[in-house]
Symmetry: C2
Subunit: 152 residues, 2 copies
DNA sequence: CGGTTTCGGTTGTATAGTACAACGGTTTGT
DNA sequence: ACAAACCGTTGTACTATACAACCGAAACCG
């Protein structure tokens, strides 16, 4: 394979990933109008980590703490998360999903999953596995790294 | 390969693409603070297609035409694109980059390309080609379809 | 033709998401 | 005990976005 081909592949990856990112918001809005993409991702992260601080979220998604603060206020208002002061450190608000939050998250994830299944219907299991592996490998190179709350 | 493996691959694809989309804005802001992601993608598409209409852009990026209209007004104000009425159809504004627009786009693309090269440095040419092909295939299933300006 | 419909685009209005800066309360380190 | 670092909120401003109402041009149809 020529050097030019390598260049071309990088160009294509850049173009396609950018196009995807650009459309993600609109796609998410169609998939689940009731839970915007941002709220969805934050809620999903909170759920995955079974309780975390606002600062964790800000670091993970490269957001300002004020943004996270407002997003959490909004999620709380919707009754999807609870914030409770950490008994060990009164500065920290430990956030975790409510029952309703878990329910909404599950339903949203189901509709997203169905949409992905639909789009990937014609793919062979082998192609899916390879594509997934490539994405994991790609994101691993970009993601801030492992620390992510040194769990005191 | 089991059915469960297929499921797992779809889950992974969904999770990784979502994470990517969620960080794309911040990443783009770091890569080229001077040209926001949205402007960048619109300008790149205008350049690739060597002149296109606002409606083309709206369809390609799933944006409302009003959004595109304002984005183009902003790009025009920055002197990066020109809009000229199509002589064959007075409703259409044909948009294309100015000399300055091409220059800025080239510089932005260079910095983005360098960042991508860096991240993909360890990949073999074969893996890059396969990953690129998967992304193209994936996006093709989502994109509104081939017409994309049926060129009258 | 002539009227209606469709189409491309702009503008008014409203909302979400975001950043930055200033601040208040809490903990930590010296 | 005082200063520094830290967590989070709030004030402010801006960008991106959608939806709806509209204008003018073209296409369609009877």
């Amino acid at each position: 394979m020529s050097e030019g081909a390598r260049e071309a592949a990088v160009e294509t990856i850049q173009r396609e990933l950018t196009a995807f990112a650009r459309r993600a918001r609109a796609t998410a809005a169609r998939l689940h109008p009731e839970l915007p993409l941002v709220s969805y991702t934050l809620l999903a992260h909170i759920h995955d980590r079974a309780g975390c601080s606002a600062t964790d979220l800000a670091a993970h998604y490269l957001l300002d703490k004020s943004t996270v603060s407002r997003q959490l206020a909004s999620l709380e208002k919707l009754g999807l998360v609870e914030r409770r002061p950490d008994p060990d450190d009164h500065r920290v608000q430990v956030v975790h999903p409510t029952e309703e939050g878990r329910r909404v998250l599950a339903s949203t994830q189901a509709s997203r999953h169905a949409a992905y299944e639909e789009r990937l219907r014609d793919w062979s299991a082998e192609d899916l596995a390879r594509f997934a592996a490539y994405l994991v490998r790609y994101n691993a190179a970009v993601t801030p790294g492992p620390p992510e709350t040194p769990r005191r």
